[in-house]
């Protein structure tokens, strides 16, 4: 009877999780959706605590209190610009928990079915890759300990393949002899190395894909833990997360026109284009402008489209963008935002920053919808973006970004590019947009540049 009630509670929790994802379909219902998810989690936890056999509350209480305090501090202290690394770190804890739960189940029981053993081995493998992969991703995004550039050495792929093979073989042996617990921990060890090595090989701008993929792994780890414990709620919740991560990685890869394997193993961004090539593209053709000239252009514009990139996050320019938007709108200018799916360091990164600055999501337009508007745009302002507005993607089939969908800012009447220098973007190639006839460069830090432009627009003429 009690078992039946607990399973019924798990069913309700599972429905809550499905409703969470359903509610995220619109910003209006999203806050409630998240609360429903938290409610589902609460139901699941309370139901579990009533399960027969739970005799010792001390460890549970201590664990819940420590975890809640750390989680709450992390969630309230971080800056919105640091969202990608925050998500990566939280993700890692989930993967780590799966490793520990499966390890505990192995150490505490002596009767196992083959299903449980396979699932245990997979929990160790996927969980450990998630844990270490996420923390490497965190370190790269936060720019601590590990360089953001891809770290690649000879034989890395072979070593990765070997590690994966080793953990699968150890898993096979574990199924045959469940009493050899060291086999489980050697799977965890090999998978930990695998998680570190596969993630350090990936460069900063490919991080959106990695964050999605690790998210998907953490779901699959929860799933395999569900198979270990024979708990359908874990399987349902885990597969929802797994599906979500997979869909997002797919969207990101499509937006870069690169297959997932290329993102994971391609090592793009390790090399930077030779200076000579960049010089021949840029030499003597750059038109640099002052804030005053930009101010005049903006005053006579009817439609302005702002295209932000990772540089916006780096210079914390979202509030300055908001101020400029409000100012131009008060002068009757129509201001919109065009967002590339891979702008920033995680999917939707730019949208979050603009939302933080109180810019209505209705003005923030996705790539396919904003592109037809560029020919009727007077001024396009590119802030801290590079590869996603590089016309070579359309014109040069030999370019590393050939075929990648881009924002067609070059079709606007005038393009203003706010950038600190002519340094190449992640793909390491020069950008002919900067020397196009309708392009003007404003070399400055994003936030300071916007502040100067605001002052110029405000100044009486």
């Amino acid at each position: 009877m009690r078992e039946g009630l607990i399973n019924f509670a798990y069913l309700i929790a599972s429905v809550c999780f499905i409703l969470t994802f359903k509610g995220l379909a619109h910003p209006r219902t999203a806050v409630r959706a998240n609360k429903i998810g938290a409610l589902g989690m609460l139901i699941a936890v309370v139901a579990t605590l009533t399960a027969s056999g739970i005799g010792d509350w001390r460890l549970i209480t201590v664990g819940l209190v420590i975890g809640t305090v750390i989680g709450a501090i992390l969630a309230t202290k971080f800056q919105m610009t640091g969202m990608p690394q925050m998500v990566a770190a939280l993700n890692g804890f989930g993967g780590g928990a799966s490793v520990l739960v499966a390890g505990e189940a192995l150490s505490a029981n002596d009767q196992f079915s083959a299903q449980v053993l396979v699932a245990t081995a997979l929990s160790g493998l996927i969980g450990a890759v998630t844990f270490w992969g996420s923390f490497v991703a965190y370190a790269k995004l936060q720019e601590v300990l590990i360089p953001g550039k891809p770290v690649i050495f000879a034989g890395q792929k072979a070593l990765n393949a070997l590690l994966l093979l080793a953990s699968l073989v150890a898993g096979g042996f574990l199924v045959a002899s469940p009493d050899s617990h060291f086999l489980y921990w050697s799977i965890v060890l090999a998978a930990s190395l695998l998680g570190v090595l596969t993630t350090i090989a990936i460069g900063g701008a490919d991080m959106p894909v990695v964050v999605c993929l690790l998210n998907s792994y953490s779901g699959l780890a929860a799933c395999t833990t569900g198979f270990v414990l024979d708990n359908y709620m874990l399987i349902i919740a885990g597969s929802l997360v797994g599906a979500s991560g997979l869909i997002l990685s797919q969207i990101m890869c499509k937006a870069m026109n690169r297959p997932l394997t290329n993102v994971l193993f391609g090592g793009l961004g390790a090399e930077i284009a030779s200076g000579a090539e960049a010089d021949s593209v840029y030499a003597g053709k750059i038109k640099s402008v002052s804030a005053e000239e930009i101010g005049m252009l903006l005053e006579s514009a009817r439609r302005v489209v702002i295209v932000p990139g990772y540089g916006l996050a780096v210079s914390q320019a979202q509030h300055a963008v908001r101020d400029l938007t409000r100012l131009l709108e008060s002068r009757g200018v129509n201001v919109l935002f065009g967002i590339h799916p891979v702008a920033g360091r995680m999917p939707g990164h730019m949208n979050v920053l603009l939302a933080e600055a109180d810019i209505s999501y209705e003005k923030v337009i996705e790539m396919d919808a904003i592109n037809p508007l560029f020919p009727q745009t007077d001024v396009a302002i590119v802030i801290g973006a590079n590869d996603v507005v590089n016309p070579l993607a359309r014109t040069d089939p030999s370019s590393p970004i050939a075929g990648m969908p881009i924002l067609d800012v070059d079709l606007a009447q005038t393009v203003i590019v706010i950038k600190r220098s002519l340094s190449p973007g992640f793909a390491g190639i020069p950008n002919p947009l900067f020397v196009a006839d309708n392009s003007l460069m404003f070399f400055a830090d994003g936030r300071l540049a916007l502040q100067e432009i605001i002052n110029a627009v405000k100044a009486p003429t």
């Binding site: 005799g55 664990g63 520990l100 359908y232 919740a237 997360v241 991560g245 996705e366």
Partner: protein
């Protein structure tokens, strides 16, 4: 064996539900989707509670306690981060 088949059925059907529901999430909300699904993946907490609450020796207790801490960080942090973010998407009238 039968148990495994039922579990697999649940897994496959849930995957399909996931794909159907999640493809409807607009790009604007992709970051909250990532952090929200991240919080949901902390459901491992349920397994962690069972591991920590049942007395099965010191190794089991240590692993269980750590698992509860990790999963709780994931759950509490995940839902709070998502809430903070989604608050900003509210329409300001």
């Amino acid at each position: 064996m039968e148990q495994l088949v039922v579990a697999l059925i649940v897994f496959v059907l849930a995957m399909f539900v996931g794909f159907e529901v999640i493809t409807k999430v607009p790009p604007t909300l992709h970051t909250p989707l990532t952090s929200g699904s991240n919080a949901v993946s902390g459901i491992t907490l349920v397994g962690a509670l069972l591991a920590a609450g049942v007395d099965r020796g010191p190794l089991s207790a240590t692993l269980g306690l750590l698992a509860v801490v990790f999963a709780t960080i994931n759950v509490v942090g995940g839902f709070m981060v998502t809430h903070r973010m989604l608050q900003m998407f509210r329409r300001k009238d």
